[in-house]
Symmetry: C2
Subunit: 356 residues, 2 copies
């Protein structure tokens, strides 16, 4: 069955560094806890995982922010840890503690047992949700699919949850690198299959979140994180039903490595707020689009300050193609949703102004 064609294609055009009438904007975690309607649906669903796995409810929360804000993209509501869960590690969310795995991987034997999950089986709930969202969107804006990066997924899988010191995975990285490479290669193959399945189900752009690449040294980043994102970029369907599918890579804390990230052949690079977007554009702006890069904490300020900070980023990027406005990390749960409305409208206003 053919899916609805796109009416607002600002996001796709900007990711491909084509001219747009104004700067497109979407927000990492735009479907999330800062919205009262999300908290309501979450209550209905039961647990966070129940919400991810129920395609109707996942679709509903994906669409909620689009009803409030003039956003230029939807992003599938899901979790980055769906792949390790499908691998049998037993994902759960301890109240107030973030994600955990019942069976973390600490030995070569455990890692060797892990296989590539077939996305049409244990991850079917994700592609079903993608397909439903895509039909419900009816072409209003494009739908972004996503995955965690192999390195980022592996940190949770080896540590057993979030980490501050990365004792186990970095211990493995320095003491037994071949075992970690085996895990990362399995994950890269899994991410390729998973994202290609999302593309076939209707995702019109994909993004890879390398949330923890920034905890590595430059050499280790190249060897243990970027190399596997490169493998994924090479393995993705870059075109589907006549449309190019842009790929965005985002390494939080990766500002020093933009050139190397751009060299993978991705279409766009995500920026956190610790690098000036003017500097980033000078370094790689002829090669890739840039997505970012407002400090999420700006949304705790008043409307005038939010507008000034939005204007600052748009002015620094300048009148060039290839900017997708976003925060430098996910929106915080305690932000007032009205402040996000101020941000979104300011992006379109200043994005329009700078083109004229």
């Amino acid at each position: 069955m053919s899916l609805p064609a796109l009416k607002n294609d600002r996001l796709i055009r900007a990711l491909l560094r084509q001219p747009t009438d104004t700067t497109p904007v979407w927000i990492m975690r735009q479907a999330g806890r800062y919205l009262p309607e999300y908290r309501e649906t979450r209550k209905q669903a039961g647990s966070f995982l129940d919400l991810c796995m129920n395609k109707e409810l996942a679709c509903e929360v994906t669409l909620q922010p689009l009803r409030r804000f003039n956003l230029d993209a939807a992003i599938l509501f899901s979790d980055i840890l769906t792949i390790p869960d499908a691998m049998g590690l037993g994902l759960y969310f301890a109240e107030g503690e973030g994600p955990k795995f019942e069976r973390p991987l600490r030995s070569a034997a455990e890692i060797k047992k892990i296989g590539v999950p077939d996305p049409s089986e244990k991850l079917r709930y994700v592609t079903d949700a993608v397909n439903l969202v895509r039909r419900e969107l009816d072409g209003q804006v494009p739908l972004i699919g996503f995955s965690g990066s192999p390195w980022t997924l592996s940190t949770y899988m080896v540590e057993g949850g979030g980490s501050k010191e990365y004792q186990y995975i970095k211990g493995m990285m320095y003491a037994d690198p071949g075992v970690l490479h085996h895990l990362l290669d399995t994950l890269a193959q899994s991410v390729i299959a998973y994202l290609n399945a999302q593309i076939e189900a209707g995702a019109q752009a994909v993004m890879i979140f390398d949330t923890w690449g920034g905890v590595l040294s430059p050499q280790m980043y190249g060897e243990f994180s970027l190399a596997y994102m490169h493998q994924i970029v090479d393995g993705l369907k870059r075109e589907h039903e006549g449309q190019i599918i842009p790929v965005t890579l985002f390494t939080k804390g990766g500002g020093a490595w933009l050139e190397a990230i751009a060299e993978t052949g991705c279409n766009a690079v995500g920026l956190d707020w610790t690098i000036g977007i003017d500097e980033a554009r000078q370094r790689v702006g002829e090669q890739v689009a840039l997505q970012g890069n407002l400090d999420p904490c700006v949304l705790y300020a008043d409307a005038d300050t939010i507008r000034a900070q939005v204007s600052n980023i748009i002015t620094r990027f300048g009148n060039h193609p290839g900017h997708v406005f976003n925060l430098g990390h996910g929106i915080h749960q305690h932000v007032d949703p009205d402040n996000l409305a101020v941000l979104v409208d300011a992006v379109h206003e200043f994005g329009h102004d700078i083109r004229n």
Copy 2:
């Protein structure tokens, strides 16, 4: 009473970019939980704060790592949050949760009440410990004094403890910057008085830890963190009893801003492990010494890997004056102390080799 003169001056010479026979090495948190003798003394003391405030026991744990390892410096055993505690915020350590304040600062009125603590009163326990350590060291190696940076101290004071999102302090930074500037100026004056008192008590070098500067955007880093470290560098006694007192600034995650940090007039810049020391030396190595920059997780590996990683950093720095070897952050509590011995000896061996 005159204090013992220095026998091993490698650290001071390297910080001043003077030639040395080999590369000096010390380790952030070298007096700490990874050492069984530390854990023993800590038990005797009672709480962590009791240990900091007991000059004999603080002196004992400061000296413990020097009995095991061929280190080129001692660093006072203390906490970065002594200043806010002396300001009356009520520092305490919740088991397994890190530092907390009973009375965090959330309003302009609370911030306006804060004054500069006289180091000869409520911080007397620190200068007494400095003086005792200096005498006990008997010139074996130099003693480093330290403080947290104003920005880093303020994050704990406003958030009430450690933070992931910095909601309150960044909210203040964007919504009410004048109030935060008032707090940071008070802290800068306090740090100047505190470090000058440590220098008068016998500290032979000082270091400022800006542990959380890296969570800021480039502009906000300049305005809210670096400006106040600059104020401190300008206000410190840079010479005492005929000896130059080198100043080291360390912003974790500050690799992008090395030029600006070096411009403050400090003698040395600390590096975490996310930047190559060869790149750092090319950028600022003619202006300042560099301290760092091994990933602390290398100490989870075997001796051969540790030696190879040490050699890598010394080779990248090359045969130039101005390198103090260190980890890129504090040593982790679960590291085997024998692995640190391997590291220290490897630094001296390879540091000697590269000079010949």
